[in-house]
């Protein structure tokens, strides 16, 4: 996800890109711990920190694949340990639903996974990162990756509603693919 515009290296062997959405309180802390413990794990994993795994959304997960990720996983706390009580339960449901959406499209649902990684489990964090990278390697490149920069549409500007039923959300707005592409193309 990070180097969107970098040209694809031609003859080099396939190196999967894996996106890990990690919750602040458990998985991300475990990642920190893995670092402190100087554990080595696959450099293919790009960690995205989210406040709670419950924040994850089918739209976000789909967009990661649309933008060319070979595998994506969401990592949250153990059942019963969620800082927000049931965020991880929601994340599990969202991931299962998104797997169904991927199947509908014709993309392998195994490219997406949910893991429980408690804050104290540095080695488990490394193990999961390796596991998912290995899985992506077996599945091969995401077929969408080669066409990821092609313009295929996005969200249209809506006139502000003079009488909105709810105030427009200002915070937490997702940056759309289009905007990002436009940003990366302006020098």
């Amino acid at each position: 996800m990070s180097d969107q515009t970098a040209p694809e290296p031609k003859a080099e062997p396939f190196e999967p890109k894996v996106v890990a959405f990690c919750c602040t309180y458990c998985a991300y802390t475990a990642g920190d711990l893995a670092g402190s413990m100087r554990l080595e794990y696959a450099p293919n994993v790009r960690v995205v920190k989210i406040l709670c795994s419950g924040k994850i959304d089918a739209v976000l997960l789909l967009r990661a694949f649309e933008d060319g990720a070979d595998a994506v996983y969401v990592a949250g706390c153990n059942i019963g340990d969620c800082h927000f009580l049931e965020g991880n339960l929601r994340a599990i449901r969202t991931v299962a639903y998104t797997q169904h959406l991927l199947r509908e499209i014709g993309l392998e649902p195994q490219r997406l996974e949910f893991f429980h990684i408690p804050a104290s489990a540095g080695p488990l964090f490394a193990q999961r990162a390796n596991e998912m990278t290995e899985r992506a390697r077996k599945l091969g490149p995401n077929p969408l990756r080669s066409r990821r920069t092609e313009r295929a549409g996005g969200k249209l500007q809506r006139q502000p509603d003079p009488h909105p039923p709810l105030p427009e959300a200002k915070l937490g707005r997702l940056i759309r693919h289009e905007e990002r592409m436009a940003e990366s193309q302006t020098p």
């Binding site: 739209v59 649309e66 509908e104 499209i105 993309l107 295929a152 549409g153 809506r158 039923p165």
Partner: protein, 228 residues
């Protein structure tokens, strides 16, 4: 609220086969609440259609927009500056919204992305049930707030029938007997005498389709204006 579910992706794919520019238009009211056609579902559907096209090696642009409601002209007007550029508009509103959109932009192909199910309520997260079938002559005052037209499999206005089975319906154990529910509720309210009242046959003539309605306040005003 109108409850709807999204059609299978295959079916939507079939409708837009061969088209290159698609606009997915969402509705931010009923179908947003039942997680079938609101802003988020529009984003999901549009992303799926884009990814599907890329996987199949087809050239296709899918844009997305969600208006507050598709059953009001004011909101449909907001699409005016976009609609012209597309081969088709896929609407994720209920059937009424799809038709109104198609009427407003009558030279455009407008396609439904949802199956409209019923007028219902949210039972819990992700669960809805039908509660009213718009019979145009509500009798909930007689039945303790439980609709026999909708809940009773046989639409019985004077129930229960002989098939009531320990609180379940003889049609299937998965459904409650509406008239047992009504009896229990009336008992609770101390209004059991309502069970003895005989409901006259339902006047189905008022249910003729398509339903039309104009608010009296507006009718009066219009009449006055006409006179002046």
């Amino acid at each position: 609220m109108i409850v709807a579910e999204r059609k299978p992706l295959e079916q939507i794919e079939g409708m837009i086969e061969g088209m290159q520019k698609i606009l997915v238009a969402g509705c931010g009211t009923c179908v947003a609440v039942c997680m079938a056609g609101g802003e988020k579902e529009v984003e999901i559907l549009a992303a799926q259609l884009r990814m599907r096209a890329k996987l199949k090696g087809i050239q296709r642009t899918v844009d997305e927009i969600t208006v507050t409601r598709q059953c009001d002209r004011e909101y449909l007007d907001q699409l005016a500056k976009y609609v012209g550029q597309y081969d088709a508009v896929v609407s994720t509103a209920c059937g009424a919204g799809v038709q109104f959109l198609a009427e407003r932009y009558d030279d455009k192909i407008v396609l439904p992305a949802l199956n409209t199910l019923f007028i219902g309520v949210a039972e819990g997260p992700g669960q809805w049930s039908q509660r009213c079938m718009a019979c145009e002559d509500c009798i909930l005052d007689q039945t303790g707030g439980i609709c026999p037209m909708t809940i009773c499999a046989k639409n019985l206005l004077n129930g229960p029938c002989g098939g009531t089975n320990h609180g379940k319906c003889e049609v299937g154990d998965d459904r409650d007997c509406a008239w047992t529910l009504i009896y229990r509720k009336l008992e609770k309210l101390g209004r059991l005498d309502y069970m003895r009242k005989i409901q006259p046959p339902k006047d189905y003539s008022v249910m003729t389709k398509p339903g039309r309605y104009s608010h009296e306040a507006y009718e009066e005003a219009e009449k006055k204006e006409d006179k002046e």
